[in-house]
Symmetry: C2
Subunit: 123 residues, 2 copies
């Protein structure tokens, strides 16, 4: 078994809070991000916009301690079980999935736990 990267060298990674089961985010990893995550014990992704490794929480302090890294049946998706410090989302929401389709419209179903300015004071 080995991760099956797509043509751009990436694999999607689902990040889940290990004890509550909450799905926190979906991001992308390359081979180096997987290696760093396993070596450091903290989630590291590949930022498609910045085209570089993205050490989650390096700026905001909202790090994700790795509990377990899993691979799906055909190797083309990763599940990271983590212990999230603070919030996962850059908006200050605990999870990135705070928008739901209800009765045909998109509805915000949760509130930020912290302001983005508190997370990124120098941006």
């Amino acid at each position: 078994m080995t991760p099956a990267f797509s043509a751009d060298g990436l694999i999607p990674a689902i990040t889940q809070q290990y004890d509550t089961g909450e799905v926190l985010m979906l991001a992308w990893m390359n081979e180096a991000a997987i290696a760093e995550t396993l070596a450091s014990g903290h989630a590291c992704y590949y930022s498609r916009s910045r085209r570089q490794l993205w050490r989650k929480g390096e700026t905001s302090g909202q790090v994700q301690r790795l509990i377990e890294l899993r691979l799906d049946c055909d190797g083309d998706a990763i599940l990271l079980l983590v212990d999230q410090t603070g919030v996962a989302c850059h908006t200050g929401q605990r999870s990135c999935f705070f928008t739901a389709m209800r009765d045909g419209v998109w509805v915000q179903i949760a509130e930020p736990e912290i302001s983005p300015k508190a997370l990124y004071p120098e941006v």
Copy 2:
């Protein structure tokens, strides 16, 4: 808010059992798959290998009743909360994520609940 499809018209979709929180699988949707899922109340994906809509459970009977469809903060990932009938994985495992990295090696951490032959008797 609206789904942000990639250049190939697809968006990754995480599927989670709504009550236990178990992450069942990751698949892909296009605009038609999202529309059909919302209209029918059962998960429909886009099969990248078969290049057509994939009505989950159509052959195996292992359907996924839609509880809620969510979108992430930047619109480029979907979270489907479903009620899974039987198993999500074509291998007969409840979840596709039954392989974990432990002490540097990939380990199978769960057993199939049903044999693939029972799921796909005519294959």
